[in-house]
């Protein structure tokens, strides 16, 4: 059972989707229960994996390899497994999705389709984090595209169709670049080693020891790395490939925004570390400065735009862009703590942004507005919601004791400790990034001041406060953030060895 547990985890939601498919439309509560149960079982399985994960071992665990497709010159394998990088993201995915499903019970129209798509989406996301074959990775990556297109396009806000198409085309373009790069890597790898494979592990070895330097010149490898960077930059997103994000996040229904910000963006960061840095460590360090600068631009640009937003949900969306910059800066430092910071940030932002989007959704549901200037005094009308919103904002700002603090701290320690050979001007970058963090505090606190505090608008006086069901995602997400903030070892335990593995390739 343990041997196939990852396969079980990945395809369980798909089975849930099929089960939902057989239920008639009218039985909304049955459908909701099945979706909830499936996501909870997935969560449970991911926790079992977490518990059985050997924290002291380097390399891959729970690995599985089955030959899948054989088209003559092309063999595709179903190769999966996890290490310290994917383990936390796997749990993040199941947690955020399960809680997003709790947040989606207010959806009343076309319930059946919604949960079918959510389940398919869950399979796609989990698959991305366990796939070790690049082709399989690509398939799962694409599998997340269509469900999200539908979820935004059907259950979204006013501009939903525009947002869904923008999402489809931007991420589609990113995928196309990724696909072309994968195929070229496949061919170059085959040319160099004589063995045609999509396996990330084998390709990492091939590219690390170019047996045939004429095939794998540093120019070729640089081009491949940059192409990969662009492909994942769309998803993360990195300036200037970010423009789909505000539309998609703002128009998506609350649950989808939570998944989008909580998990889908992380696929970009994960891909960058797993494939970009994992297979091209030398090129990654070569372009460290570029990555760091883009990271800083992301931080500052996202923060500045967040500062001028009048719509609370847009503000949160831009804060996501800003926070993803920290991931880039952390990676670019190529130090243990920087890399840990990046992974911490992926996980921590997953919980925090999901919580923020949930809060915005809950507030909108009651006040029917997201315009910051129209909100105010929420702490008096809906004290519990306002409290959690404030807590989420604090976590996002990086208040000590919450997960945001740990990840930012680690990333900054990494940047300031970066070797000058890899990352020149590390201190300057650190300082500028730090200014960005101050901006984060500025826009979030300012937004909180305008929404939760101040005089209460009369029309909001009779609003119902948090319902019991809403406590589940709020407490769950905030709880994880606090857990990581107070006891970061729970996470660093798992990722530590993997980070050292990644960095050991750079040292040589």
């Amino acid at each position: 059972m343990i041997a196939n547990i990852l396969t079980l985890l990945v395809f369980l939601p798909l089975a849930g989707a099929l089960l939902i498919f057989t239920i008639p439309n009218e039985n909304k509560n049955v459908i909701r229960s099945i979706a909830t149960a499936t996501s909870l079982v997935a969560l449970l399985i991911s926790l079992i994996v977490w518990a059985n994960f050997d924290r002291g071992a380097s390399g891959l665990q729970f690995a599985q390899l089955v030959q899948w497709i054989d088209i003559g010159f092309l063999q595709l394998n179903y190769e999966i497994g996890i290490d310290g990088l994917s383990m936390p993201l796997l749990v993040l995915t199941t947690v955020v999705t399960a809680l997003a499903i709790f947040a989606s019970f207010s959806i009343e129209n076309r319930v059946k389709e919604f949960y079918i798509w959510t389940m398919v989406l869950l399979t796609g996301m989990l698959g991305v984090f366990v796939a070790l074959d690049m082709f399989l990775f690509f398939l799962f990556f694409e599998l997340t595209l269509i469900p999200m297109f539908f979820i935004i396009g059907i259950w979204g806000g006013k501009e939903k169709v525009y947002a869904s198409f923008k999402f489809l085309v931007y991420t589609g373009l990113g995928s196309a670049v990724m696909f072309i790069t994968f195929i070229v890597m496949f061919f170059k790898g085959a040319q160099a080693s004589g063995e045609a494979t999509f396996s990330m592990i084998q390709l990492a070895e091939v590219f690390a020891n170019p047996a045939n330097p004429e095939v794998l010149t540093s120019g070729v490898r640089a081009a491949l790395f940059l192409a990969l960077f662009v492909a994942f930059a769309v998803k993360l997103p990195v300036f200037p490939f970010h423009t789909w994000l505000p539309n998609a996040h703002v128009e998506a229904p609350t649950a989808a925004s939570m998944i989008l910000a909580g998990v889908l963006l992380k696929m970009g960061g994960y891909g960058l570390i797993r494939i970009g840095v994992g297979i091209f460590p030398d090129q990654a360090t070569r372009f460290a400065l570029l990555i760091a600068i883009l990271g800083v631009v992301n931080i500052i640009y996202g923060a500045l735009l967040a500062l001028v937003q009048t719509d609370l949900k847009r503000l949160v969306a831009f804060s996501s862009i800003s926070h993803m910059g920290i991931v880039l800066v952390g990676i670019a430092s190529f130090t243990a703590s920087g890399m840990q910071g990046a992974i911490f940030q992926l996980v921590s932002h997953g919980f925090i942004s999901a919580l923020l989007f949930f809060m915005v959704g809950a507030i909108y549901e009651r006040t029917k507005t997201r315009t910051i200037s129209e909100l105010g005094g929420l702490s008096k009308s809906v004290p519990v919601l306002a409290g959690f919103t404030l807590a989420a904002a604090m976590a996002s700002v990086g208040l000590p004791g919450l997960s945001g603090f740990v990840s930012e701290l680690l990333a900054f320690i990494g940047v300031f400790g970066a070797s000058a050979e890899i990352l020149p001007a590390a201190k300057t970058i650190g300082v500028i990034a730090g200014i960005g963090i101050i901006l984060t505090a500025a826009y979030l606190l300012w937004a909180m001041q305008r929404t939760t505090f101040g005089p209460m608008d009369e029309k909001y006086s009779g609003l119902p406060d948090a319902r019991p069901l809403e406590y589940i995602p709020m407490i769950g997400l905030l709880g994880f953030s606090i857990l990581i903030g107070v006891y970061p070892n729970i996470l660093s335990d798992v990722i530590n060895i993997t980070v050292l593995d990644i960095l050991s390739k750079i040292g040589g």
């Binding site: 010159f73 389709e113 398939l139 396009g153 059907i154 869904s164 085309v169 196309a176 195929i183 070229v184």
Partner: protein, 484 residues
């Protein structure tokens, strides 16, 4: 040399049987009065096609030729099967269409479709310029009639006239090109031409290139690649929808078979001279087909441009340096995917446009509410046409892509991927109509007939199955020695 009477005529059994059955249907039609609803003839046609398909499969292990004129090899077998299945689908669609359009003489319709099929089968089996041309004309002339089958409808008549005139010109180009070849080699046998051409090319490069170009113009018209595609949208729009389906799938693939036979066998020795030209045509076809499709509001015109783009994808492997066997594996796989997804889509299109009484893409509004099954099926077909996983269209494209990279045509492969992204817009445009728009006021719940539902189910199943397990088919294909 063997006389025609000593030849192994049993090789032609499927064609002869199909001819007899088509004539039988023709006769039954006369005897039962030409007007009125005749679904039994449709069923009989499907049975005829199935019998023929079984006969084709039975010749699985046979390969041979009749006096170097008619050839049976793996290539012919697979293309015939694709064609027969395609026509069976088309007839299933027609049976629904003809119920809704009583002004069409049904018996003639079915028998003409079968004659066209016969032409297509002869085309892919021909090893001689004359046989090839006879097959082509049998297909073309039947198609001209079918295009104008709604004779009281102006657009249908316009389509038929356009098709006849332009098709005639294209045939003339092909014949003219052939005449050069005959003049140089003194034979009409494709195998012999292929043997001699390499040596002759050194002496007469200009004449051979002229011949090739003339044929390329004519064939380009038949498979609707840019810049010879102009007829397709008009003819597709005006023709009865099942005929549009026939033209865009069966007719196109049969002509494509012809192109393959000519270019790989006859012109194979001078590959370097024409491959780049074909690559340019493929690139143009993909770019123009996909971009113009963006602006289309009529769903049949949209499918016409989509079909043009798809033809571009199919040309890519031909323009790439691969062994003929690999080229054929790639093209045959995509061909099967193309039949399934395109005819599946046309089945849904027929159902929807006939119910709405118009062909605007707005007739797809809220299809999900009116027939969830058809909406989901259409989604699968469109996703496959767009080339997204996990569908037959996706693996077909991956296969083409990898083939192109192997053959060193990376730029062409990149154009293919880039234009596929463009195609997301219009394919997902239809998906948007189906799921995100409310149904139009007068639209009713659709009740597809059982036969159509079965056909769509088969198409969906194959599309998805080939997406998950492409290896099962390709393994089989890769073991083939395609050409005689």
């Amino acid at each position: 040399m063997l006389s025609a009477f000593d030849a192994n005529w049993s090789l032609m059994t499927p064609e002869i049987v199909l001819l007899c059955l088509a004539l039988l249907i023709f006769t039954i039609d006369f005897m039962t009065g030409i007007k009125g609803s005749k679904p039994f003839l449709g069923r009989l046609s499907i049975i005829s096609l199935l019998i023929t398909a079984i006969l084709v499969v039975l010749t699985n292990n046979v390969s041979g030729n009749i006096a170097q004129v008619f050839i049976v090899d793996k290539f012919a077998m697979i293309f015939k099967l694709i064609i027969l299945v395609g026509v069976a689908f088309v007839i299933t669609i027609s049976m629904h269409y003809l119920e809704k359009n009583s002004d069409v003489y049904q018996g003639e319709f079915y028998s003409l479709l079968l004659f066209a099929t016969l032409g297509a089968m002869i085309m892919v089996s021909s090893a001689d310029l004359i046989t090839l041309f006879v097959g082509l004309e049998l297909l073309s002339i039947s198609s001209y009639c079918l295009a104008g089958f709604k004779k009281r409808n102006k657009k249908s008549t316009e389509a038929a006239i356009k098709y006849v005139i332009l098709g005639g010109v294209a045939s003339a180009f092909i014949l003219y090109g052939m005449s050069f070849l005959y003049g140089l080699t003194g034979t009409t046998g494709i195998l012999e031409i292929g043997r001699d051409l390499g040596a002759l090319y050194d002496q007469y490069p200009f004449i051979i290139m002229m011949s090739l170009l003339f044929m390329l113009v004519g064939f380009g018209f038949k498979i609707s690649i840019v810049p010879f595609h102009m007829w397709a949208p008009d003819v597709y729009e005006g023709s009865p929808t099942p005929v549009t389906a026939f033209l865009s799938v069966v007719s196109k693939l049969a002509a494509f078979g012809l192109v393959l036979r000519m270019f790989i066998i006859a012109f194979g020795s001078i590959f370097d001279e024409w491959s780049f030209l074909l690559a340019i045509f493929a690139a143009l076809t993909m770019i123009i087909g996909n971009f113009i499709a963006l602006t289309q509001k009529n769903v049949k015109r949209l499918m016409a441009y989509s079909g043009i783009a798809q033809a571009g994808y199919l040309v890519v492997p031909l323009a790439t340096t691969l062994t003929p066997d690999i080229t054929m594996s790639i093209i045959a796989f995509y061909g099967i995917a193309y039949v399934m997804m395109t005819l599946g889509a046309f089945a849904v299109i027929t159902l929807v446009t006939e119910s709405a009484g118009k062909e605007d893409i707005s007739s797809f509004n809220g299809l999900y509410y009116r027939s969830p099954f058809m909406a989901i099926a259409m989604t699968v077909f469109l996703v496959s046409l767009a080339g997204l996983p996990i569908t037959a269209g996706f693996f077909g494209k991956v296969y083409i892509f990898i083939g192109a990279v192997t053959g060193g045509m990376i730029w062409l492969a990149v154009i293919m991927i880039a234009t596929s992204i463009v195609s997301f817009f219009y394919y997902f445009g239809i998906i948007k109509q189906m799921y995100m728009n409310e149904p139009n006021e007068n639209d009713e719940v659709l009740n597809p007939p059982l036969s159509l539902s079965v056909m769509v189910t088969v198409a969906v199943t194959v599309t998805l199955f080939l997406g998950f397990f492409p290896g099962l088919v390709t393994k089989y294909f890769n073991s083939f020695h395609w050409f005689f």
